[in-house]
Amino acid sequence: MGRAEYKVEGGKLVKVQLSKRENAIGEIRITGDFFLHPEELIEELENKLEGRPFHEKDLAEHIKDVMEKNEASMLGASPEDFARCIMLASEDDD
């Protein structure tokens, strides 16, 4: 189980809790005080991140893709910030 918190500069706090499957994301939960519209997309995003390797750039791209397909928008955090926090969580508690 890895956990991390990442305070976005000029933005909100992103928290990630995840389990690792080899070098990929097992289960993941993203919490925080950011805004994501539509809100329900967070669960789909978490599901779609499962099994993804810990590669920061690819993760950011993937999150961006899911958001664009759903015409989603975020305030106080970005796909890059989510990816950063996932990487930090992956380095926690090995």
Partner: protein, 257 residues
């Protein structure tokens, strides 16, 4: 030119579950065109903690401390952070408007600024020099006096926000989780540097009635609308009762993340 009319509601002191359910019920009624664009004022009895849609109840709220004090805890349908809603310290507003309204833009940040201008102007009518501070705050001399959160769906924009009349930092940090016990007192002390209230700024007791009057004028002038005192539809009342019980008071909703 006809002045645009919005419905004005004041639902007084209600519990957290009804309060959050009624916001959703009004948004649904608005989406079905059953009601006009609406501004609502409300308060919380008992006092409550609300968390943002994406937050974890276990991580943000000391639910045992809440239970001891009779403070409710609830997840909002909007994002943002954890808020302590004090029965006597806070006035809350919500507005539900058609997404095609001239005040609403595609850009969430811009829309926060425009919708918060009603609160900023209302506070200025009381003699408080407040400013909107991105992303979603209103501040006086850098100290937060109002927090706001917005969501959209079914072609309706729903924004709700707090106006602090009075601050109670010790209860606030009793019911919210702190990173560790050692810094609790420090956090309580530093609230004065980060948060302010209507009473603090003006150095006198401002009643809820006076505060509401000022905000009504602020919203009217900032939005170029007339607020007309109205009533809830039976549809809204029934839907709010149902959503309050089945969604907002449920463990499944409040502890889902």
């Amino acid at each position: 030119m006809m002045i645009e009319e919005w419905r004005l509601l004041d639902t007084g002191l209600r519990d957290a579950f009804y309060n959050m359910a009624l916001d959703e019920a009004i948004a649904i009624a608005r989406s079905k065109n059953l009601v006009p664009d609406t501004l609502r004022f409300f308060r919380w009895e008992p006092s409550a903690v609300s968390i943002g849609y994406f937050q974890s109840m276990e991580e943000e709220v000391d639910t045992a401390a809440c239970d001891e004090r009779g403070v409710s805890y609830i997840r909002r349908r909007t994002g943002g952070g954890a808020v302590y809603h004090d029965r006597d310290g806070e006035l809350t507003y919500s507005l539900m408007a058609n997404q095609e309204h001239r005040l609403i833009s595609r850009d969430f940040q811009e829309t926060y600024k425009v919708l918060c201008s009603g609160v900023v102007l209302g506070l200025s009518l009381l003699g408080i020099a407040a400013d909107f501070k991105p992303i979603n705050d209103i501040v006086v001399g850098g100290r937060k006096i109002s927090g706001n959160a917005q969501t959209r769906g079914m072609n309706v924009v729903h924004q709700h926000g707090t106006i602090l009349r009075e601050v109670d930092p010790s209860t606030m940090f009793r019911v919210l989780k702190v990173p560790n016990e050692k810094i609790r007192d420090k956090l309580i002390g530093s609230v004065e540097e980060r948060v302010t209230s209507v009473n603090t700024v003006l150095g006198r007791e401002v009643g809820f009635k006076e505060l509401k009057e000022a905000l009504i004028h602020g919203f009217q002038d900032a939005f170029r609308i007339t607020l007309v005192q109205g009533d809830l539809l039976r549809f809204e009342e029934r839907l709010a009762a149902k959503l309050g019980k089945e969604k907002y008071a449920s463990e499944g909703w409040n502890f889902r993340r």
